[in-house]
Structure formats: structure tokens, C-alpha cells
Amino acid sequence: MTNQLPILLFLTPFVAGVAMPLLTAKRPGWCRPVTLGTVALLLFLALLNLVHVLTYGPMEYALGGWAAPLGIAWLNDSLAAMLILTVAFVAQVTLLYGYQVTSPGLERSMAYYALVLMLLTGLIGIVFAADLFNLFVFLEVAALAAYALAGAAGGKSAVFAFRYLLLGSLGAALYLLGVGHLYVATGTLNMADLAIRIPGLLSSTAVASGLIYIFLGLSIKMALLPLHGWLPDAYRNAPNAVTPLLAATITKISLAAWVRIEHSLILPGIEVGAVPVLVLLEELGVIAALAGGALALVQTDIKRMFAYAGIGHVGLILVGVSLGNATGFAGGMAYLINDAVMQVALFMIAGALLHLHGVRTLDELRAMQTPSPWLTGSLLVVAIGMVGLPPTGGFFGKWNIVLGALEAEHYLAAFSVLASTLLTLGFFIKVFACWFHAAAADAPAPPEMTAPLSTALGLTAIAIVGLGVFSDPIFHLLVGFASGGGG
């Protein structure tokens, strides 16, 4: 039974998502309990899967019993198990939160819940896929659900969701082109087989351009600067209940997909045409981390500011995983998991501000009464996590990226982590200055928060601290994964 966990994890949201229209056509009130129950089951299965992987080691799952070269392989290792647990947690929190903060009509809309479940299906597929083409299909399943969710409010959101769709599909086409190149050169799509054949073929231009196309395609999906153009407007205009989920999952899981490819195909020290590939990737990450942080600092719209912060952190994670040593890799991946949780919290706060107080920009924030203590407390925790102070998980992620950079003697990378930390601190100071600004006496009192909203905020705050408290086992697992154990 436990050997079938990967497919159970995949089928749980898939079956519920497909069955949603049938189940709830006559009873629209069922949408929410069914979705919450499904995701709770998913969370339980993800925990079970993590325990299973930790006990029995990594496992290759052959779909339909067809082994790897002929069939499609899924890889269920410690990294996949942790990422799926993160995704399930993030989805559960967003659904709890969505109860209060939804656009009119969305809370009873069957399509919203069905799309969230399809998004989860796609994400779980991406995380498990050990086959480049399988990865493409799941990338598109997740992306299609994300486009539809981003445009769910109609009007403005549809315009920007359409731009997201155009660029996202361009990314998918580039990725497919790269997969075609690699298939022509190697005759296989399985990542394990590719890892054996690619090192001997690096002088081939087909392999090099294939890897470049794959990276370009996934860069658009993970919003790596300067290919981030679709992200801020799409996130700003998407419904409040959707943005946290998109921000925490789409870019992070696309990045995780690239990390899996990079980790198995691009070994440290590999050069293509005298260009050290990993160093190049690291420099791209440095640029994204610094520019993303700087752009966040100059925004006046709260959601856009948080979106640029996320873009900067994608760069930071790319720096960590491209350092070529286990410390940096583990730091980067630990930070990825942390960042997913922190992005959920950030956009939940931004959405709650917009929904409860009608606040979109910093100026409007300055003019209102100090918000509810739940919001203030959770913003404080997130700020500590994003800036990277102990005991939050953000600190241990950044710390290990810096240690990895020093170990590799890449001082620019170490500098970029510190500089991006300062930029993050800078924009949080801007937010807090407006937050605690004494409002005019006639400003309306803030409305009450409902229990699900404060529960969601509390859960993420606990998770941010919890990831710091348990950073030691997480870090050891990731180091073990990076140094080739896989488990």
C-alpha cells in the first residue's frame, strides 16, 4: 500500500477536481468542505510519504508497472516528499484564508475549487516527474490552472492573466524545443539516463542549445529576472484568494523543476565552450536577487512590492543551488521551502489589507487605523523570516547559502545574499513606517477578522518559526540529497 503513495498523492486532488462539477452541480455549498477535506487528506498522505521516504529511502515509481526506459518514471525522494508537504500545507492555508477574503461570488464558485485542485495535481506531477516530457505535461497542467485562476475575477485580472498566458506558453514552447534537442542528441528523456549520457556529449551544440532552451523556458515560468514581466501585474490583479497560492507554488515549483534538471545534468565544473555553466547560472541569480530587491524597494503598491520581493528571492535560491557544493545547495533548497511559506503569508496579509480595509498602496496604509493584532503579528514574523533573523527558517537558508559561497570562494555570491537582505530590510522598514503611523482620529475602525483568517495567519507564522526550529534535520536531509544519496 505505501508503495503506491506517489500515485495516491497525485490522484487525490485529480479525482476530486474532476468530480467537483458532478458532486456540486446541485449543491454549491459542498464545494468548500469537499476541497478542504481533499487537501487535508493530501496533507496527511504527504506526511505519510515523507515518513515513508525517510524510513525506506528514495523510491522510483514506475507508472503502470512499466520500468524506466520504456515507461514513465517518477522519483519519490526526500526532496520531492518535502516539496509536496510544503505545497499541501500552502494549499490548505490558502483555502482556509479564502473563506473570508474572496471576491464576491468566488467563495461559492465550483470552478475556483476545481481549478485549485487541478493546480495541485499539476504541481505534484512536476515534483515527482523524472522524465523531461512528463515534466512538460505537468508544467502545462499547473500553468493552465494558474492562468485561469489569475483571470478568475474577470475584467482587469483577465487582461493581465492573458499576458501571463502568452509569456507562459512561450516558455512552455521553448522548454519543449529544448526537450526535442536533448532527445535528438541522446535518444532518451529519462533524467537518470540523460545524466549518464550528457557529460560525454557536452561538445555537441544540440545538447548545449537544448539545455539553454530548457533553462529559458523554465526561467519564464519561475520569473527569473529579466523574464519576470508577467508576474507583478498578474499577481496584483488576481483575486485575493488566489494570489497567495500562485505566489507560493508556481514560481517555486518551476524553480524546483529546474533544480532537479540542473542537479542531475550539470555537474560542478562543467564548461560549455569555455563558459563554466554553474558560475553563469549563479551570476544570473545574483543579478535577479539584487535587481528584484531594488525594484521591491521603489514600489508603492503593496502587492507589487511583495511580488518583486519574491522575484528577488528566486534569484537568491538560484545562487544557492548553483554554488556547486552541498552546503549551498541545501541552503538554497531550504530557503525555497521557507520562501513558499513566507510568500503565502505575505500575500495573505496584502489580500486581507485590501479586503478588510480597502488598502492597496503605502499611502493608503499610512492613512488607516493600525490593523488587527493578528495582521501586525503575522507581518512581524514574516518580516523577521524574509530579512533572515534567527530563529526563523529564512535565517538558516541564507546562512547556508553564504557558507556555501564562502566555501566555493565566490565572494560576489556571498555579497549578493547580504545585499539582498539589506534591500529586504529596507522595504519592510517602509511598510512598517506606514503601518504604525498614527492615523487620523476619524479613520474608520478596522472590521473584525473571522476565525479561519486568523487561523491561517497563525498557522503560517508557526510554520515560519517551525522551519527554523527544525532546520537542522531539514538541512541534513538536503545535504544528503545533494551529495548523491538521494535520500
Binding site: 502545462e140 493552465l144 485561469a148 483571470g151 474577470g154 498566458l165 512561450l170 512552455a172 514552447a173 524545443l177
Partner: protein, 128 residues
């Protein structure tokens, strides 16, 4: 120079792929009309599918259904099924993308009564 040109002309399929890809990309980026952007995207995606088909073409090969029991099988006589499977899957993905994008375009048109991107952005600015 001439040799390079000759090299290129050996592979007309790939030249067609490059032309289609860049053509689609150009339409997608330059035309302000959302539906024309979609047409550009469609051409671009189709060019990638054309690329997959082009490299898997095999002369004198037949469908990969083995009719004899005797081994070994002569692989040269059969087309490689995998690229074709990829192609079919990619087409399905393309169709799904087209459906979602048309839904988004029609949602934008219903709200703002225009398909021109510049006008839409003006409307959005005004609404904000």
C-alpha cells in the same frame, strides 16, 4: 560562406522551423490585437511541433507494429513512435492552452469592449 549556405540548404525543414518560430514570435510581440497575438502564439507552438515531426521523419519506414515473431527485429524498418507520441501530446496541450486563452480574451472583451491591447491598458488605467 558558400559552404555554410550549402550546409543550411541541406536541412530545409529546420529552416522552415526557424522561419515559422520567428514569424510567430514577431506577431505575438508586435500586434496589439489580442486575437492576433494568439495566432502568433499558435504559429510558434506549431513550429515546435513541426520541429519534432521533422527530426523523427524516417524514409522507407513503416508503422511500429511488429508483425513477425522472429527475432531480432530490424529496427531500421520501423518509425520511432516516441516523437510522434510527444507530438500528439503537445498538440493536446496546445489546444487546451488555446481554449483557456480564448476564454480570457472574451472575458477581457466583455469587460472593456475592446481587443486592442493599448486601448485595454488605457481602460485599465482609467478604472484603477
Amino acid at each position: 560562406m558558400l559552404e555554410l549556405l550549402q550546409d543550411w540548404l541541406q536541412r530545409p525543414n529546420f529552416i522552415v522551423f526557424v522561419i515559422l518560430f520567428l514569424w510567430g514570435f514577431y506577431i505575438m510581440m508586435v500586434h496589439p490585437n489580442l486575437v492576433k497575438k494568439l495566432i502568433g502564439l499558435y504559429i510558434l507552438q506549431t513550429s515546435v511541433i513541426f520541429f519534432l515531426v521533422a527530426f523523427s521523419a524516417k524514409q522507407g519506414a513503416t508503422v511500429p507494429v511488429i508483425e513477425t515473431d522472429s527475432l531480432p527485429v530490424d529496427a531500421l524498418r520501423y518509425a520511432n513512435p516516441l516523437p510522434h507520441v510527444l507530438t500528439v501530446t503537445a498538440i493536446v496541450v496546445q489546444v487546451a492552452t488555446l481554449g483557456v486563452s480564448l476564454a480570457l480574451v472574451s472575458a477581457a472583451y466583455r469587460s472593456f469592449g475592446s481587443l486592442d491591447e493599448n486601448e485595454l491598458l488605457e481602460e485599465v488605467e482609467r478604472a484603477a
